[in-house]
């Protein structure tokens, strides 16, 4: 649109000013508080860029719209991020303590609880599922599902997902303390980790891909790209590619991912009552994820001789490795000689797989119930 010089100053609305302030806040949180800076900073800057009146960055020929179309609309960027994440994950702690996989399942409870809560607030099932998946504590899965079911909500969902992931050290400890006694927090883990062969580490990503693909075909691309990245890491003959995936690919895609998502952060789409609901529901998802993991561990302890420290259950969310570190620190705070890091990491890695499976299940189930 031809606006002449200073046209933007005349055309600006108060909503656009608010969105620029939102963008500035995201940049502040990224720079000053170090909250997920790789995503929140590009999103913050993109939000400012997208809300300049008559901005050439968005619209049919805008570069941000172009990036959105080539990378988000067709899910390419989140899937490429999954290759990078797969190359970064070491599954050996999980293979050493496979029982801790189950905590990954239990700690997805917040997703499904939030899906139900969102429908009570007036969201339709697809929107509710996209909001619930914030509880996956896994940015790319949230983006992937939201883009399929509710692309209009992608902006607030991404902001909520990445903000709460950064806030895991603040969100989880009070919930864990509320649900556990000191005696439970002092439990020492008595599991003996097994050793894992290199062949097992190579076979694992292939088998998981085939297995997940058969059970929930909708999860095939999500889990497949994650496991592809992991296979590159573990095969031992593609070290250069593994390093490239962990560094260059992760950096480049993250760089454009954030600014592409900001295309959806225009004032008319973002500044609504629904955004506030999404931010609130995202927090509920994280709280109930944590509670689900802890309560599942407590339930297991009723039947087990060798008790599990229930704090480990909270590490079943996908926020890796932040959640494992939080649990480890909480354990040390209670007893300076109780080291929970290895077990918490196993549960945390299990959570990474479970969150992707949760995304796949939601993608399979929701269309069936929308018929």
């Amino acid at each position: 649109m031809e606006t002449g010089l200073f046209g933007a100053l005349i055309g600006i609305t108060w909503k656009q000013v608010v969105m620029m302030l939102v963008g500035a806040t995201l940049i502040y949180l990224a720079v000053k508080k170090n909250y997920e800076p790789t995503l929140l900073l590009p999103m913050g800057f993109g939000a400012i860029l997208a809300n300049i009146p008559f901005s050439s960055a968005i619209g049919p020929h805008g570069i941000m719209t172009f990036l959105y179309n080539v990378g988000i609309s067709n899910e390419a960027f989140p899937l490429m991020i999954f290759i990078a994440i797969g190359a970064m994950i070491d599954f050996s702690p999980l293979l050493k303590n496979p029982i801790l996989l189950l905590f990954g399942a239990a700690a997805q409870f917040g997703i499904f609880f939030t899906v139900m809560a969102a429908t009570l607030l007036g969201f339709d099932l697809k929107e509710a599922a996209s909001i619930g998946i914030i509880g996956a504590a896994d940015g790319p899965t949230s983006i992937y599902v939201a883009n399929k079911f509710a692309p209009g909500l992608l902006g607030p969902i991404s902001v909520a997902a990445y903000s709460y992931m950064a806030l895991v050290p603040i969100i989880q400890p009070p919930i864990i303390r509320l649900l556990t006694s000191r005696k439970e927090r002092l439990i020492r883990m008595q599991m003996k980790p097994k050793s894992v062969s290199r062949t097992a580490l190579i076979v694992f990503p292939v088998i998981v891909t085939v297995f997940a693909g058969f059970i929930a075909p909708a999860s095939a691309s999500l889990i497949g790209f994650l496991m592809f990245g992991n296979l590159i890491r573990e095969c031992g003959v593609l070290n250069k590619l593994s390093l490239a995936a962990q560094n260059e690919l992760a950096s480049l895609v993250t760089l454009v991912l954030g600014i592409s998502i900001a295309t959806t952060m225009t004032a008319e789409k973002f500044l609504t009552e629904r955004t506030l609901f999404i931010i609130g529901l995202g927090l509920i998802a994280f709280i109930f994820d944590t509670a689900g993991g802890v309560m599942f561990a407590k339930a297991l302890n009723v039947f087990r001789k060798k008790k599990i420290n229930p704090m480990i259950g909270a590490a079943g969310i996908s926020a890796f490795p932040m959640s494992a570190r939080v649990i480890h620190k909480m354990g040390l705070k209670e007893d300076s000689s109780n080291f929970l890091l290895m077990y918490a990491t196993s549960a945390n890695v299990g959570g990474q797989i479970a969150s992707v499976i949760a995304g796949g299940l939601i993608l399979s189930l929701v269309p069936y119930f929308c018929k």
């Binding site: 076979v203 479970a354 949760a358």
Partner: protein, 45 residues
């Protein structure tokens, strides 16, 4: 309570069940992988 909520409830029930079944099967699969490809003891020098 509306029909959307009941659909969400069904998604939640089937979703949670699905995840637990998947993870339990994966657990069994890991045990199988461990049996098929055990860590060999390091040769003595």
């Amino acid at each position: 309570m509306n029909t959307v909520f009941y659909s969400a409830f069904n998604v939640a029930a089937q979703g949670m069940t699905g995840i637990f079944i998947f993870m339990a099967l994966l657990y069994a699969l890991i045990l199988l992988i461990d049996k098929l490809f055990p860590q060999k003891a390091e040769p003595k020098k």
